[in-house]
């Protein structure tokens, strides 16, 4: 559908949240017991953090939960009864989600819907409406200005302008949301796209060349680059970058329970971990730098080669939360030939 533009008065946001709670399962940023920002289910608008700041965990868990039951089984005498989980039919509204989190869903849709349809994921995805909030300022490690991901799939985006939110509606789901609460929205009569562009320039989120997409040609030649070994060798192999990432989607399938009853479940898994590809007699990625290289190349070469978009929205979490601050953007630029100096100055030199 063609985009539509509305105005939402800043003092109406609370009302929108409260009223949406009657129709949707509303997810928004809030603070947990430790004071950390999380996507949760705040009971009132007072608990909602309607801010730019990113929670450590992205919003992907609402379509791809960290642990999810695939099959429940029960044995009675000689018979085994097994069934998949019942589909939960509930409309989720992701309220005030960052654009980088919201746009990620469209990107990972590709893998879940090519060939076999992954119904658990796609079911939840279809039930989710995205009401994104555009950032007024870039944060320390993020680099969405360097990735040209499409935001067209984000149902609605609210741009905080002077005195009001300019709400851009891009999908039918978004239109349904605005229509439901139409009395809160006013028509936008000005040149909305121009206003958005100005806003982006000011926020620092306007796209800047060279985009990281252009690094792919270089990356395709850099698989054997000697510096992987030294630059990625500080990677400790934890799962922080993948688990906090809005686009990382790899998972493991495990059984829990006994022979009598239990469940088969899937949990997030990470390619940077030692056990990811380990087979009894063979470990193809036997060094840590190879595992890190897989993550980087999957995002900036393999995935776009297969499905089109980069597997990255530039949210920067994998830099902010990385224990050793490995910087994926710098490494893409370096190995992709956009930059001559390696981050931190380390070279293998062979």
């Amino acid at each position: 559908m063609a985009a539509e533009y509305y105005r939402l008065n800043k003092d109406k946001v609370g009302e929108l949240f409260e009223r949406a709670r009657a129709d949707y399962d509303v997810v928004a940023k809030t603070r947990d017991a430790n004071g950390n920002l999380v996507y949760g289910r705040p009971a009132t608008f007072d608990d909602v953090a309607f801010v730019d700041e990113q929670p450590p965990m992205s919003a992907k868990a609402f379509a791809l939960p960290q642990t999810e039951t695939l099959v429940r089984y029960e044995r009675e005498d000689e018979k085994i009864r097994a069934e998949g989980p019942e589909a939960e039919a509930r409309d989720v509204l992701l309220f005030g989600v960052n654009i980088c989190d919201a746009a990620a869903f469209d990107i990972i849709d590709h893998v879940f819907k090519w060939d076999y349809l992954d119904d658990p994921y796609l079911g939840r995805r279809a039930d989710a409406t995205l009401f994104a909030l555009a950032c007024a300022a870039v944060q320390q490690d993020c680099f969405c200005d360097r990735i040209s991901y499409a935001e067209d799939g984000v149902d609605t985006v609210a741009y905080p302008l002077e005195g009001y939110y300019l709400v851009k509606v891009q999908t039918e789901k978004g239109r349904k949301l605005v229509e439901r609460y139409h009395d809160l929205f006013d028509a936008e009569d000005g040149d909305a796209e121009a206003a958005i562009n100005t806003f982006r320039e000011k926020a620092g989120t306007a796209k800047k060349e060279p985009l990281l997409e252009s690094a792919r040609a270089g990356l395709e030649k850099a698989f054997e680059h000697a510096d992987w070994e030294i630059l990625a060798s500080t990677c400790i192999g934890c799962g922080i970058c993948t688990y906090t990432c809005p686009t990382c989607h790899c998972f493991d399938i495990q059984d829990e329970g006994s022979a009598i009853a239990g469940r088969r479940l899937r949990t997030w898994d990470h390619c940077t971990g030692r056990t990811f590809t380990a087979m009894p007699a063979h470990q193809p990625r036997d060094r840590q730098y190879k595992r890190y290289r897989q993550r980087l190349l999957h995002k900036f070469w393999y995935y776009p080669e297969r499905f089109g978009p980069l597997l990255c929205t530039g949210c920067g979490r994998c830099i902010t939360y990385c224990p050793v601050k490995i910087n994926i953007k710098e490494l893409v630029e370096y190995f992709g030939g956009l930059k001559d100096t390696p981050p931190g100055g380390a070279r293998h030199g062979k």
């Binding site: 939960p65 960290q66 642990t67 999810e68 039951t69 989980p85 939960e88 479940l265």
Partner: protein, 152 residues
């Protein structure tokens, strides 16, 4: 079972009996328990015994796994200090259990849920007393259940 149903369940039904997992050293406590049986000493039958070669074989992992599988209490029993079949296994075990006990206490798991005893092969009576004491304590403490969160 839904959460609501679980809550409706009485916490301590009168017939409730604790699930106790006992890790017993093959050389002493297991024989001690055997002696208690052959001597026909009556004692509560709520301990499910797992025979291990030495109390030093008992890894804290096993104890936590037992809780995870539904044990209300875990009892580890080995040879008296100085009597270890392998000379020093129970001395090492003792230090390990100090650490585990300290941690369980700290995270708020009732200390009565994890007990250690030294019972020799000749102490059938002592074994019966230990089981009696452990069972009695667990009846006071009640069933062990982390509150279920569920993922879906």
């Amino acid at each position: 079972m839904t959460k609501a149903e679980k809550q409706k369940e009485p916490e301590k039904a009168p017939q409730w009996k604790p699930n106790i997992v006992g890790f017993l050293c093959n050389w002493c406590s297991y024989a001690g328990a055997d002696l208690a049986g052959t001597s026909r000493i009556p004692y509560p039958c709520d301990v499910r015994i797992i025979r291990v070669p030495c109390s030093g074989r008992v890894d804290p992992l096993m104890i936590l796994r037992a809780f995870r599988e539904g044990a209300d209490g875990v009892l580890v029993s080995g040879c008296h200090p100085g009597d270890c079949h392998y000379i020093e296994g129970n001395y090492y075990a003792r230090r390990k259990f100090i650490a585990l006990k300290k941690l369980l206490d700290h995270v708020g798991i009732d200390p009565r849920r994890f007990r250690v005893s030294w019972v020799s092969a000749s102490e059938g009576r002592k074994w019966a007393n230990v089981v009696e004491a452990v069972t009695r304590e667990l009846l006071e403490v009640g069933p062990f259940r982390y509150e279920e969160d569920g993922d879906d």
